[in-house]
Amino acid sequence: MRMKTALLGLALGVSVSTLAFAGQITINTDASDPAPKKAFEELVADFQKANPDVTVKVNTFDHEGYKGAIRNFLTADAPDVVNWYAGNRMAPFVKAGLFEDVTDLWAKEGLNDQLKSAASSMTIDGKKWGVPYTYYQWGIYYRKDIFAANGITPPKTWDELKAASAKLKAAGVTPFAIGTKALWPTGGWFDYMNLRVNGYEFHMDLTSGKVPYTDPRVKAVFDKWAELVKPGYFLENHAAIDWQDAVPAFVQGKAAMYLMGNFAVAAFKSGGLKDDQIGFLQFPSITAGLPMAEDAPTDTVHIPAKAKNKDDARKFLAFIASAGAQTKMNATLGQLPVNNKAEKPSDVFLDQGFAMLSNAYGLAQFYDRDAPAEMAKAGMEGFQEFMVKPDNQAAILERLEKTRAKVYK
């Protein structure tokens, strides 16, 4: 009897694995946090409804663990669709021939038009390597009530920002919350300082290694930045804490501003802040007349070059690129759809973010996605050191230049 069931199981196993080639796709995703996970589950369910002949198998990985795991499964046992990020972050996989060229899909589905805003960050060597499905804005979130209590209006220029900071500091409130233990929050500051002082083109040239870090224009960025660092406008001891650990300071009113991505709003609200206590402002202009570019990291899906079922994987990519799917998905995610035909979720911060990004001169991905990994690591470590010891500026920049010379050969 037992033998029989075992055989039956074996037979079933065989038939399942043969079926696998007829319309099954495997998706490896890092959507492990509650909102992304739900968004992905809904997306897959809708995709199956639209394509009943395709079975979808989803493997969800832990968000951090995924970054290491993807290197293994792309080379060893490739799934049919994977999550990743746009910009230089996908370059190692593209260069190693591990991602499928999907330029044909962009042309066929009219994505060149619908996903236009993200087209450049999905392009390497003139080809498209994946499909973006969501992005979110960065900017300064501020405490409306604290601003009002101190008679501060949201600053639009650098001088206004400095004046507001001085006022807050005098009132015993730290102007900026930040936690730099994980390094990347410093990247947001550098991005904005550089985008505002030198502009989008220069920032892109710098992150792609065309400009030395010892260039006087980079020095100028740090000189401006020092105007906030030296008077102590950032949360003390930020090097010991993560970005989440700095949220309580913002919620308790010990700090009044926070340069962050839109995902931070959820953390502010779960800390007890109401919508009317939080305001959003675009990072103020520094060099007058410079067109304003923004940080807007984009999340993407790709087809591994070694995928077994590329036809159905293409169907899935086309589906996730579509306006309908992106509308629904981003409503769950609380982020912005990339497809310009999709409807954005109704949320006061997303409305402001969307308005800002639609008028943006250019979109940067983020320092650690625009610059290659090794440069990003050294860079952000330097930014952190600068934010603790602004006097080390010259030494830091020289060290970064040494790294740049090594990284971009």
Binding site: P92, A239, A240, I241, D368, Q384, E385, V388
Partner: protein
């Protein structure tokens, strides 16, 4: 004739099995040692000569990784920190001995006290790291609160490049002292009571008794404590990773963490460079390991 050949055949068989048997018994150990230790070491040394991101082509660059290492500031920071770890970690030996002597008495409930002192060694290093990061946390930690009430200064140990490494070493000493303590406690059990008695008759007391009679008998325990402490200090990784991730700005890196960062972390994937760091760390460890092995062998020969 037939008889004689039968004897020689069985003798031959005996000889054969005497030659074979040790290898058969050694085989499992040798096979696993080869797969999990020898081959990885050789592979690491080999990879150290390449420029490789773990995905693409391996490019032979000879000694370039080592040349780069020689001019890499982070490498010297790591080396310096490893040295600090090595020296300060040795404090675990006298501290462990002191606690062991203190606990080596027969009063009711002594087992409970012993277990309490041994507790930090039982819990995971990750937990030790977390406990200490909260202990040091600038806003709600006990230590900064204490320092603040005493001196009025606000110090965030793990955010300050001058204190951070020492803060982590202090966290590491907590379980390491417990480990040395347990080694000494078992050592103290094996002490010959007659010698103590004889010493007492000759009027040896207190420190003299400790120095001339107890400590010499604890030789084997001290040796083991030294070995595990030195090796433990050189492989320190988990605490650094948990408490500071090598920060602030890389000032608490040690060689093992530096290797992980370069080869395996989110911003790393320089396999060749990471392997080169591993080879250097291996060479440093080999110095100590060889010293220990030489001592152990010479002692076995004497015995």
């Amino acid at each position: 004739m037939t008889h004689a050949s039968a004897i020689s055949r069985s003798a031959k068989r005996g000889l054969k099995s005497r030659v074979l048997a040790p290898w058969v018994f050694l085989a499992p150990g040798l096979i696993f040692f080869t797969i999990y230790v020898l081959i990885p070491i050789i592979r690491s040394i080999w990879i150290g000569f390449f420029d490789w991101d773990g995905l693409g082509e391996m490019k032979w660059i000879g000694l370039a990784n080592y040349v780069e290492l020689a001019s890499d500031e982070s490498f010297y920071v790591s080396l310096k920190n490893n040295l600090a770890w090595l020296i300060l970690y040795l404090l675990a030996i006298p501290a462990g001995l002191a606690i062991a002597l203190f606990l080596n008495q027969t009063i009711p409930g002594i087992r409970i006290y012993k277990s309490l002192f041994f507790f930090p060694f039982v819990i995971s290093q990750v937990v030790v790291g977390l406990v200490f990061s909260w202990f040091y946390a600038p806003d709600f930690g006990l230590l900064p609160a204490l320092i603040k009430t005493l001196t009025g200064a606000n110090i965030a140990i793990l955010a300050d490049e001058h204190y951070a490494t020492y803060g982590i070493i202090a966290a590491g000493l907590w379980p390491q002292i417990a480990y040395c303590m347990i080694l000494y406690l078992t050592g103290l059990n094996a002490i010959n009571p007659e010698q103590i008695e004889a010493g007492r008759m000759d009027n040896a007391k207190g420190l003299k008794m400790l120095w001339y009679i107890v400590i010499p008998q604890l030789g084997p325990a001290t040796f083991i404590a030294l070995v595990v402490t030195v090796i433990g200090s050189l492989r320190s990784f988990d605490l650094v990773s948990i408490m500071t991730s090598g920060g602030p700005y890389g000032s608490t890196r040690v060689l093992s963490y530096f290797m992980y960062e370069q080869a395996l972390s989110e911003y790393g994937y320089r396999m060749g460079y990471g392997a080169a760091i591993a080879v250097v760390l291996f060479a440093i460890m080999m110095v100590f390991i060889s010293l220990f092995i030489v001592r152990m062998l010479s002692e076995q020969r004497r015995a």
